[in-house]
């Protein structure tokens, strides 16, 4: 009889330990540096490729393009980028001066295996009449998603740094 009760208890308790439904985690891009521009710049337009124009996070592998199932952006990607740019170049918030438009063509990790690969960022930037295409590749080896996000942030940091020097040269 006691054994039966024990079994019932164990069975009931096991219900609490069963695997729970996985939950989604939301992310923003975190930048490490802020830059002071020597001229007034107005962020007139931010466009992203259609497949990035969503809250879902994209990745590529040998099979093609996918969205991560359990991780997403905190808001649609164009807004994430806009917020990051303003964080990085606070003077953009003044909204006056030369027109700066940015078109993000790609920004996603490309997995060569489960943990490794490279993050690719391609963007066309226009400042008044000057146009430049930025292409950044950042190799990563991540053990979990948090580490992957660190590499995503580093890639963006590199882009922002390059963008800063280019803007300064064309001011």
């Amino acid at each position: 009889m006691k054994k039966s009760f024990c079994l019932i208890f164990i069975f009931m308790l096991s219900a609490c330990t069963l695997k729970t439904t996985p939950y989604e985690t939301m992310h923003l891009l975190e930048i490490r540096y802020t830059y002071n521009l020597s001229c007034n710049i107005k962020l007139s337009e931010i466009k992203v490729a259609d497949y990035l124009n969503t809250e879902k996070m994209v990745y590529r592998d040998a099979k093609g393009l996918h969205y991560f199932a359990l991780n997403k952006w905190a808001c649609p990607f164009p807004y994430v980028i806009k917020q990051t740019l303003i964080n990085s170049f606070p003077s953009l918030y003044q909204n006056q001066g030369k027109n700066l438009s940015i078109y993000i063509l790609s920004f996603e990790p490309y997995f060569t295996n489960e943990k490794q690969g490279k993050i690719r960022l391609k963007a066309i930037v226009k400042l008044e009449n000057s146009v430049k295409t930025f292409y950044i590749e950042h190799h990563f080896n991540a053990q979990n998603f948090e580490e992957l996000m660190v590499h995503m942030n580093k890639t963006l940091d590199q882009f922002l740094k390059n963008l800063y020097f280019w803007i300064q040269a064309n001011c």
Binding site: F5, M26, N53, H66, F68, E114
Partner: protein, 299 residues
């Protein structure tokens, strides 16, 4: 107590305790829990809410904040649909929040998305005693509702073109009394615009079909097919219109003029529709979600 002897009072008490615990658990997780954590709101819309079911999820900024409790037709106004939703009390529903209907994945099922849009104000339904969250038509609803209108207009144009090209008129055209230079210039411009309309329409139909097929939204597919037929017929008639512009007479010219005005209107409507699709293309794109990436499962 001797080993192996059963104490029936203890067993009975234990079973009673378990029954009480089970009943309490059921009560807490159904009625009590719901009332404590959720607040009822009302959404009213004259648009179709096909795909939305009772129990469908309600999202705010991608986070699930509630679910649809009840859907019914307003008995006082058969054109209006009333949706009662339960929303997490922690979410402060304030002025400037608006509900839209969105399609979920490839299933064709819909869910409600709450978002912030300046200019919208909450209402109050005295009868239901519930706060009303305003609903704005989603891009998908706009497309479904605007396509039939475009087809209807295109059909009207077809009828007018057939009228103009009747045997009687063709004879008159052949007799050719005079040419109105100004009108001809307008006609030529309209023909160019109509050709753009056809090209744009074809592209739009192709893109829309590719994407909509994955959704299996029957209504849109039927509409697109109908529209495609109309577009093809229009293309044939454009070449005939060109001949007309060179051989028009005083009786036919006013008719042609009004016909081309209609063509211009339809062209504009198609441009608007194309713009809507461009503005929010991802609402129609459905990349099938796969299982989580191995990195996502490692903590």
């Amino acid at each position: 107590m001797l080993e192996g002897r059963v104490n029936y009072i203890l067993v009975g008490l234990f079973i009673l305790l378990m029954i009480v615990v089970s009943v309490l658990t059921l009560y807490i997780f159904t009625k009590f829990g719901k009332k404590a954590e959720y607040k009822k709101y009302l959404i009213i819309t004259p648009e179709s809410i096909s795909g939305l079911r009772e129990g469908a999820k309600v999202y705010y900024k991608g986070v699930q904040v509630g679910k649809v409790e009840k859907i019914s037709i307003d008995p006082e106004d058969q054109n209006t649909v009333k949706i009662i939703v339960l929303i997490d009390k922690k979410l402060k529903v304030i002025d400037g929040m608006v509900a839209t209907l969105r399609i979920q994945g490839i299933t064709g099922l819909s869910y409600i998305n709450i978002e912030k849009k300046p200019g919208f104000k909450l209402g109050y339904d005295e009868k239901e005693k519930l706060t009303i969250i305003p609903m704005k038509p989603s891009q998908l609803q706009k497309i479904t509702s605007s396509l039939p209108e475009i087809i209807e207009n295109a059909n009207k144009i077809l009828l007018r073109i057939q009228e103009v090209l009747s045997p009687q008129n063709t004879k008159k055209i052949n007799q050719l009394i005079f040419k109105a230079d100004k009108l001809l210039a307008e006609l030529n411009q309209a023909v160019i615009e109509t050709q753009k309309f056809i090209t744009e329409g074809k592209k739009l139909v192709k893109v829309t079909q590719n994407k909509i097929k994955t959704l299996d939204v029957e209504k849109i597919n039927i509409t697109i097919e109908k529209y495609q037929k109309v577009a093809k017929t229009l293309e044939k008639l454009i070449s005939q219109l060109k001949i007309l512009t060179q051989n028009a007479d005083s009786n036919t010219l006013p008719k042609l003029n009004s016909l081309l005005e209609k063509l211009k209107e339809t062209s504009q409507e198609l441009k608007d529709l194309s713009h809507k699709l461009n503005a929010e293309p991802y609402s129609l794109i459905n990349i099938k979600e796969i299982k989580p990436h191995p990195l996502e499962e490692k903590r």
